[in-house]
């Protein structure tokens, strides 16, 4: 290789990459308003971000997957715990932690409200379905549209079935996908599974669910219709 070629590799390589990167940066700025719902970026959300930084939360928790890995990721914390849950944990972490501790941070009430607003806004950022482990906590409101509002559909969400089962691309990975469960199992079998999971499959790891007779019927009817 000649000196001249080497220099060309340097100038061209740098320039191509730089131009591409800057062009995409400009385009990203144009799209980011929609992707992050920047219209909902209220003063309270900004105040909450300042609280997040003031207490250095990010050096224990990741957010958008960035930061430190000592505590759970906060991107979708609002999905996991909701406003009430977050407001309970933040001021009294010692009541919610076991062998790994979070400091008691003496936040003022206003700061807690701001922080929760910030986490709610953050949970709405379009992160291409990241993180995988929190997709099962996608807000019920978003799912109700897909599942309908029959009593069985609501029970499916309220009883935490999504924690293990997937339906229409959301939910946990531990149990089978139930999107088309009605094609595999009939009403009677589903009702038997719900009463005692091992009565149908001896290997089942699903816990027996606490359902009334009526609830069991409604949930089974809903699942049997998922075809």
């Amino acid at each position: 290789m000649s000196w001249k070629t080497a220099r060309w590799i340097f100038y061209l390589g740098t320039l191509i990459s730089l131009v591409l990167f800057l062009a995409l940066t400009i385009d990203t700025h144009r799209q980011i308003r929609a992707l992050t719902h920047a219209d909902r970026l209220s003063e309270q959300v900004v105040a909450g971000k300042k609280v997040w930084q003031k207490y250095n939360c990010n050096d224990c928790h990741t957010i958008l997957g960035f930061g430190s890995y000592y505590g759970p990721d906060m991107t979708k914390a609002y999905w996991r715990r909701g406003a009430a849950g977050l407001k309970a944990v933040i001021p009294t972490p010692e009541q919610f932690t076991t062998w790994r501790k979070m400091p008691r941070l003496a936040l003022m009430d206003q700061e807690i409200n701001d922080l929760v607003a910030f986490l709610q806004w953050t949970s709405e950022i379009d992160t291409q379905d990241w993180p995988p482990q929190d997709q099962k906590f996608r807000p019920a409101a978003a799912r109700a549209v897909a599942l309908g509002t029959s009593p069985g559909a609501l029970l499916f969400q309220e009883k935490g079935c999504f924690a293990c089962h997937r339906m229409n691309e959301t939910g946990g990975q531990l149990g089978p996908d139930l999107t088309h469960v009605g094609t595999r199992l009939d009403y009677q079998t589903i009702e038997k599974v719900l009463t005692d999971p091992r009565s149908v499959n001896a290997q089942a790891t699903m816990p027996p669910t606490a359902l009334s007779h009526e609830e069991r019927g409604e949930l089974s009817a809903f699942l049997a219709k998922m075809k």
Partner: protein, 447 residues
Amino acid sequence: MVLAYPSQRVAYPYFVVALLLFVLQVIVGIWLALSYAVTMPQGLVDILPFSTTRAFHTNLLVLWLLLGFMGSTYFMVPEESERDIFSPALAYLQLALLVATGVAALVGFVFGWTKGKPLLEIPFPLDYLVVVGALIFLFNVGMTMLRGKRWTVVQGSLFGGLVFLALMYLFNLPFYANLTIDWYYWWWVIHLWVEGAWELIAAALTAWILIKITNVPRELVEKWLYVELGLFLFTGIAGTGHHYYWLGAPKYWLWVGGIFSALEPLPILLMILDAWHYIRNRRDGFKGRLVFTLAVGMSILHFIGAGFWGFLHTLPQINYYTHGSQVTVAHGHIAFFGAYVLLNVMFFYYAIPKLKGLTEFDERRGTLAFWCMSIAMVLMTLAFSVAGVLQTYIERVMGLGYMTAQAQMRFWFAILVALGLILLAGVVLSVVDLLTLRPARAAKEMG
């Protein structure tokens, strides 16, 4: 007289401070591993939370590596420019300013004075003092080069990297209201440092050392330096996209980030081949083996850490599960160690004997320290990786809770505490050795 230019002496205090901070960084690191392995009492966590000690660990790393680069620059530039440093007094002032800022920042962290952004916690107005320190440095080095007798590609790469480094830090100064934009530009600092500016500095310092110790023709080294820099910047700049997969940016970053960052190992591979070629074809002149050992060790671990361990989780299909897990930690540790820690250690072992007027020195302690540190770090990387795979599988694939995964990872952090102690032994040995180098003959007489 071993020193070519008397003003090269300003490098020494930079090296001493850097080495002491290195020891402190590793001690804090062991504390962090311990915090993962055992239950810290609530009362202690309230006073000294993990977040504070982690800020210590990362800021100490950045501070000592940068002080090492700066000292190395002050050592190298006079020989390249063929004149003394423009102002040694400014160099000492700059060191005093940066160390004072660093100490103020570290003490401040304990009292909750922080910007609250990982790795860039240094709050206002201390961050502006960092900028002032950087400007003094660039001015001093720039003036030296400007008034120098010659201009070389090695110098150009070094100065380019330093200006690039300082420029990118500016993106850390504003407050960003939108979290996604905040992280978008956070990576302009962090990624474009370690996979851009710092690589330019590292490539320049390495090329210079290789010219010095192998006596291969400068034209050859500088030609390949051009190719390496071109590949580093080609893959590194657009490769920033591999941090933009899941932060709320458009989907095309999955393609751009995936493709460009997958090519990032190439320039590092070229560096290994280069170093290997120069060392095999060296012409006699430089005495001692340790600097060669460090040069080869550095390029290999640079490739394994930054190249291979980075490649493992850079593709979006994999990164979806590993992003923000201990897999990242594994990569971060071995990459920083291979690319930048060993670079500094190599430079110190080249420069400090000269600063002390030694032509040859007893290399036994230094060699032992290199192997001790490197083996400990490789094993640490494996332990972090096991923890990372457990976390990825249990938490993200199986969908079990965060703490369920952490419980399974605990054992590996206990292992990491032990490995950290071995690393510390190696680090302390190399620091003590560097600060008390003895002539080779005296060592022989003492047995």
